[in-house]
């Protein structure tokens, strides 16, 4: 047996330390062309993070994702730590409320994390959103939670999306989008201005794509809508 053939046969022997062959991921597109072209959508069977300060457009992007999932007839869950979900703007954004389970946690972080754990282990949800929002002590979250959350969804179609002011899942997240502050669009004379919308920017941090930004023009809800 030649040296090359011996090397080849050794390489084919199963090794317990050999990294697993990862299947190519499926993505759920948001329907926002700039975001979908940049990152391809939200990866299924993985944790995604939408991070940014208040008024940066995190919730606008999340509602768009929930709209895409519920219009695909998937059942979704919204675990709301700060009890901040607004059904009216979600419905206006196209989210099918009848397919959205809302869990109100009244600022009890332990309840929110346990609820996510139950939902992910129960299985069958298209998108599970964990909205940590403007909580200040979010840094105290143990990293073991994210390994625990990643494991049950790994080979499923479920997407766990986390909204927070900064990254929490770190290396457990497959996608991280950083949202930049909204630049509001006002209309009308100075004494009768009307909020017409805002420009939002999403910057992919993971996978990092240097110099790329997705710009989203969002329209504000007015009396006519």
């Amino acid at each position: 047996m030649g040296l090359l053939a011996a090397k080849k046969s050794r390489a084919e022997v199963y090794s317990p330390v050999r990294p697993l062959q990862r299947q190519p991921r499926e993505f759920l597109t948001t329907g926002i062309p700039s975001v979908d072209q940049l990152v391809g959508g939200f990866p299924r069977g993985a944790i995604s993070e939408i991070i940014g300060p208040e008024s940066s457009g995190r919730t606008t992007l999340l509602y768009r994702l929930l709209q895409a999932a519920t219009s695909n007839r998937e059942i979704c869950a919204y675990v709301d730590l700060a009890d901040s979900f607004d059904p009216r703007t979600a419905s206006w954004a196209g989210v099918a409320l009848s397919q959205l389970l809302w869990v109100r946690c009244h600022n009890n972080l332990e309840h929110a994390l346990k609820a996510v754990d139950y939902l992910l282990h129960g299985g069958g949800f298209g998108v599970v959103a964990l909205d940590i929002g403007r909580r200040r002590s979010e840094q105290r979250l143990a990293s073991s939670y994210w390994y625990r959350f990643r494991q049950p969804i790994e080979h499923t179609s479920t997407i766990l999306v986390v909204i927070a002011s900064e990254t929490l899942a770190r290396q457990c997240a497959a996608l991280r989008l950083e949202m930049r502050s909204v630049r509001p669009r006002w209309q009308g004379p100075s004494n009768a201005l009307l909020l017409r919308g805002a420009r939002i920017e999403a910057i992919p941090q993971k996978p990092f794509i240097a110099g790329s930004t997705a710009r989203i023009e969002a329209q504000a809800l007015t009396l006519g809508d």
């Binding site: 208040e54 008024s55 606008t60 389970l101 809302w102 869990v103 403007r134 909204v182 809800l221």
Partner: protein, 422 residues
């Protein structure tokens, strides 16, 4: 073979059913005085056919003197004979002679057919049996075939069985009062196992559980649990009771328990290849019960918007997952992105500096900044004819750090930040 018992002067309405059940597990009750049941299997017990009606007659006491019993090859023929011939009558298969002199009024006829028979001079069963079948069908419709078969004693149909309502109940009394959940669940598990087996044997599933606990202090503790999807696995039901009792523990030790399963037909769903992802009903119900025990009863559900302009008006409804092939949800044709809003619940009380009737500076918990742009005031009011009126001025404000908030001034002059645009 079928037996029909007709007792026009019956005192106890259950006598007929008791009589039928002592000969056959299934029966058809035509009315309060008439019952029909199959007797084919009785030929092993009673080799002579004549013995069967005699055995049936023995079930009726002397207080019910007029009991007619008929044996025939079809339920309809047995009923007709029992109603119109006194005592015990046995007619053989296809024996039209026994019925031929009966009046057509013995049949249940529609007014049109009764009028047609009267015009044609048809008065007896023999007259009907002699009519040509094709001509009858052409004139009277498909019902004519059925009538002719009944008149000839040839009708063939199964019994319309009325099953006795099954009850899935169990009661356990304890020698000593139980204080802990674990031994209670052990007993509940055994009861549920037996009840679920009985339920499955009847081809049913559980739509809910009624649990009644007799407590040591003499009071009763009741829990009614209802499921959106029928279950038949005792493990799932036990877990749901477990979670419900954790959320609503009984206030005193338990002396006895009474368990009742609410039966319903099981829901069978054909999944399609392209059916979208949805949770398994039993797993979902357990998951929801776990979360309900964690966050409380009113903090979990599907939001439903109310038909009002009152801010933050919604209801939480139970999640109902429709499995199988579902109609696609209508997708909004408007592809523009919609700016989301986040509520602060409760709204943040704020100190607002006013200059020329416009907010200049805002200070609240975690928010302190100069107002760069303000849009308002937008008057919002309504519900003055109800118990929950609202009346306030709203402002959309942009702070120096770029954050967008909705600011509200209540009628008493207090300011609140209702939420943020995000």
């Amino acid at each position: 073979m079928y037996a029909c018992v007709y007792a026009p002067q019956l005192v106890d309405p259950n006598t007929l059913e008791e009589c039928a059940l002592s000969f056959s597990p299934s029966f058809e009750k035509r009315d309060a005085n008439t019952i029909v049941f199959g007797i084919t299997g009785l030929r092993l017990l009673y080799p002579q056919l004549e013995e069967i009606p005699r055995a049936i007659r023995k079930h009726f006491t002397a207080s019910t003197p007029s009991v007619n019993i008929a044996i025939a090859h079809s339920p309809d023929a047995a009923v007709l004979v029992a109603r119109h011939f006194n005592g015990i009558t046995i007619i053989s298969e296809g024996s039209a002679k026994a019925l031929e002199n009966l009046s057509v009024k013995a049949l249940t006829l529609s007014p049109e057919i009764a009028e047609a028979f009267d015009l044609w001079g048809i008065h007896t069963f023999r007259d009907i049996a002699e009519l040509p079948e094709a001509g009858m069908v052409a004139r009277l419709g498909p019902q004519a075939v059925e009538l002719q078969q009944m008149a000839s004693g040839l009708s063939r149909r199964p019994l319309l069985i009325e099953k006795a309502k099954e009850v899935f109940e169990d009661r356990v009394e304890f020698d000593e009062a139980i204080e802990l959940l674990e031994p209670l669940l052990f007993v509940l598990g055994r009861s549920l196992g037996d009840l679920c087996q009985k339920l499955r044997a009847s081809g049913m599933a559980a739509a809910g559980i009624d649990l009644k606990l007799d407590l040591d202090d003499g009071s009763d503790f009741e829990r009614r649990i209802r499921f959106p999807f029928p279950f038949e696995r005792s493990r799932t039901l036990l877990k749901l009771i477990n979670l419900d009792l954790i959320a609503h523990p009984p206030p005193a030790p338990i002396k006895a328990l009474a368990l009742r399963l609410v039966p319903t037909l099981p829901r069978v769903v054909q999944e399609g290849l392209l059916t979208p992802l949805s949770p398994e009903p039993d797993k979902l119900e357990v998951t929801l019960a776990r979360i309900r025990a964690l966050v409380g009863e009113g903090n979990l559900g599907v939001p439903q918007l109310l038909n009002t302009h009152r801010p933050d008006a919604f209801l939480l409804q139970p999640l109902e997952v429709v499995r199988g092939l579902r109609a696609p949800t209508s997708i909004s044709s408007d592809e523009r992105q919609k700016l989301a809003f986040r509520f602060f619940r409760p709204a943040l009380p704020a100190d607002v500096s006013i200059w020329l009737d416009r907010p200049q500076r805002v200070s609240a918990h975690g928010i302190r900044s100069k107002v760069v742009t303000a849009s308002g005031p937008w008057r919002a009011s309504g519900g003055w004819w109800t118990n929950i009126p609202w009346d306030r001025d709203e402002w959309d404000i942009e702070l120096a750090n770029g954050n967008l908030y909705r600011l509200c001034r209540e009628p008493d002059g207090s300011w609140k930040i209702e939420g943020a645009y995000d």
